[in-house]
Amino acid sequence: MIKTDALIIGAGPTGLFTAHQLKLIGLSCEVVDNLDKIGGQCIELYPDKPIYDIPAVPECTGEELTNNLINQLKPFDIKFHLSERVEEVQKENDNWLVKTNNGTSFSTPNVIIAGGVGSFEPRKFSPKECEKFENKSLFYSVKDKKIFTGKTVSIFGGGDSALDWAVELSKECSVNLIHRRDEFRGAQATIDKVHQLAKDRKINLYTQYQMASVKGDKNLESIDIKHDNNKIKNLKTDYVLGFFGLIMQLGPIANWGLNIDKKTIAVDTEKFETNQKGIYAVGDICNYPGKLKLILSGFHEGALAARACFKLARPNEKYRFEFTTSSKTIKERLGVKGD
């Protein structure tokens, strides 16, 4: 059980700056994120896209913004729990007991939800019966490629993940690559390689096809794929891989007794506290009259929520507002010399 003054859910820009604010005022915090990297939407959805409305930063990409925020946290020791999703938040005396899907648990008076539009999950195949084989013979990521050796693997998708795995697995298995159109998006070198392998009959390429259904009783036996002209083709296959990118899902947050409307959480504008004492929501996921889904708004919300955390984490102390330009205590925390 990890004890901390505040737990932040979400390592996007808002979560990162909120961590900065907590540490600046002398509180401890830890951060949980479902992605395997820091940065949230900035890193997952638009790492290369320029952003023009960060105050005092005329232009930066999602990746640059993330790196700058990480640099800003350098003076502090903050533990990040990546590839973990918070499943449960329960009241335990005066604290919140928080559990992740990896079994990590936290006890904290303050939980700050900086979850954007929810956690990133793989996009799945549309036919319902695909669920039956999920994580048995149908996967949305590859954990151990050895299980595919000598087998037939049908890969769906047109981006780098689908192409890279098609190339890689074609060395040891029989590969079908299925995509909804003729053009692939991905590194040109990989696309060329796939076309070469298709020519050499190392990869069976099916374009303008999509998944129609999966067949098999206990084990997956074959799949039906449907052409744009509605013709169905049946492919014998042992495994299916789908690479359609990630989607944001609100997920377990919906079960924590919070006021949720249209995937956002209602908060006040003084502490950014939800209807549950000690649970705050900041950034894109919070909602209040006049809310703007801007990164700069998330920074403001995080700064105020951090001050509210102080009250619950240090009930016997009085919070004193200080500037980073003049406070000796803050300079010590930042590890910079005072003057």
Binding site: L45, K49, V117, R185, Q210, M248, K263
Partner: protein, 106 residues
């Protein structure tokens, strides 16, 4: 202003007037039309405002720009007449547009 008809998966027709300059996605969100999630808020980064555009309209409205087709690869059950509604800008020319909303966005 343009009249836009959104047809949800259960065949409910929602007819709304949308201001020129807004996108078809914004027209749906502002009028509480169900089935358009628009998670990324119009950045062409999520494919959750996916719609099907009736054939005759599909060829009339401005064509897809770079990147939209890539995002449609990730949409739920894309078809040849799929579009991202955040990329269709409303103008007098599209008055009367009809779009079908898929059963879900992901």
């Amino acid at each position: 202003m343009a009249k836009i008809t959104y047809i949800t998966h259960d065949n409910q027709k929602h007819e709304v007037e949308v201001q020129n300059g807004l996108t078809v996605m914004e027209g749906a969100v502002q009028n509480d039309i169900p089935g358009i999630d628009a998670d990324c808020g119009g950045g062409m980064a999520c494919a959750t405002c996916h719609v099907y555009v009736k054939e005759d309209w599909f060829n009339k409205i401005p064509k897809k720009e770079d990147g939209e087709e890539d995002m449609l690869d990730m949409a739920f059950e894309p078809k040849t007449n799929s579009r991202l509604s955040c990329q269709i800008v409303v103008s007098d020319e599209i008055d009367g547009l009809e779009v079908n909303i898929p059963s879900k966005q992901a």
